[in-house]
Structures are given as C-alpha cells and as structure tokens.
Amino acid sequence: MVGGLKMGFAWWMDSSEISANSFFKFLPRKHILNLDILSNSEVKMIEERILSSGDTISKQSDNSELFRLRELQKDIILNDMVLCVEQSFMNSKQLKIPHSEDLLPTELIEVAQRMIELRKKLVKRIGNFND
C-alpha cells in the first residue's frame, strides 16, 4: 500500500529503536513544554468505533489514531511526573534527582520492556492486516 495513510502510520509507529528509558521517560530528564492537548471523549469515541467492528479489522486510521492518543496520554502522565520532580529539586543545589532505574522495582521495569515488545508486535500485526 502506497497511500499516505500507510506512510503516515509508519513514520511514528517504528518501535525498533525504542527503549524503556525513553518511552517511559525515566528520570532524571527535563519536562517537555508543549505537549498536545488530549481529548478523553475522542479516545472513548475511537475505542467504541474499533470495538463495534467486532472481529472485522477496523480502519487503520482508527487504530493508528488510538495508538497516537494513548501514547500522548502516557506522555502527559509521565511529563507531569518529570515536572513534579523537577520542581521539587529546582530550589536546591545540595540534592540530586535519583535515576528511575534505582526507583522502580526490577519487575516493573521488565513489564515496561515487555510493553514495548508488545507494541512492536501489535504494530506489525496492524501493518499485515492492512497490506
């Protein structure tokens, strides 16, 4: 498929280089200033549209848009964490922000890595159904 949809889908869906550290915004890091605004009702609407398709594969635009919105939601939650930590330490030169790898239990980091693997497989599956 050479359409803009497929290409538009592929450019941000490539997860071969994604690490848990970057995807889940491990500390310490700087917060992002201008994230897009998320509409929860839009997420719900697309979810309902996808689920109402039953076992019939829903439109790729819906699948990719839901991925985008859920990942934006992830970014907003984690960016809020980064901002909260940044603000908590910004007034002190005597304290340092610990690393996420030291804050999170090993099993939580493993689940984060498995989520990225799952993402890769889902993206591949969506691509196969739309070729």
Binding site: D55, I57, L66, L78, M81, L95, I97, L118
Partner: protein, 135 residues
C-alpha cells in the same frame, strides 16, 4: 516493608554529614522539607481507582484497545512509584541528617502493597494479549 528497591539510595550530594556545618545541615533539611511538600501534592493528585477486571482478548481490535488501557495504567504506576520512592529517599536522608528514629517515619507512607497489586494486574492483562498474539 520499604517501597525502595535499593535501600542505599540518597538524594544528598554530600557523601558524609560529618563534613557539614550546622547551618549547612539546616539548609539541606529545609530543602528536603520543601521537596517533600511539593512531591506530596503530586502524589496526592493521583486517583486511586479500584483495579478493573481482566478483559478477554479475542481480536486485534480488542488487543489494540486493551493495549492502550494498559499503557495508561502502567504510566500511572511508574509515576506513582517514582514519586513515592523519591519521597521515601528524602525521608531517609532527613533521618540520616537528624538522627531521628527510622521506624517512626518509614511506616507512614507505605503504598507499595497497593502498587504491587496494580503491577500484578497489569502483568496478567499483558500476558493475555501476548498469548493471543502467539495463537
């Protein structure tokens, strides 16, 4: 039980309090108190919803929807665990600097039991999608 995976962690840049003057120590303690207050407001804003039941994954459409839900739940868990762990480290640093009783402080904000349940539920749902993808 502590919420920290690594108990030797510290937010202090100084290696030993023996090198600190009383005024320097007092300044760091003020910074710690300020950081704890700011973190507390961040932790307090998190909603503590009851965990939802597992969803059967029987199609690609459902897998995509469930993946999206899981991603958000996992992000909330990472946020919550990170903020609580930093608070715990700050409290430990405060104990180190003041010489207060450890037991008195460590049992106040222990939510790891709650987080562990959330992680188990996320893992169970993750396994369901992984299994469906393998079939």
């Amino acid at each position: 039980m502590s919420i920290l995976p690594h108990s030797s962690l510290s937010t202090l840049r100084v290696v030993s309090k023996s090198n600190l003057s009383e005024s320097a120590k007092s300044s760091i303690l003020n910074d710690i108190d300020m950081s704890l207050r700011l973190l507390k407001s961040g932790i307090g804003s998190e909603s503590k919803k009851e965990p939802s039941s597992l969803i059967e994954v029987s199609s690609l459409n459902k897998a995509i929807v469930v993946y999206g839900n899981l991603l958000v739940q996992l992000s909330q868990l990472i946020r919550s665990q990170s903020l609580m762990a930093i608070s715990e480290i700050l409290r430990m640093d405060k104990i180190y600097l003041t010489g207060d009783s450890v037991e008195e402080i460590t049992h106040k904000n222990n939510n790891f039991g709650y987080n562990k349940l959330r992680l188990e539920q996320i893992t169970d749902q993750l396994i369901m999608i992984e299994k469906w993808l393998e079939d």
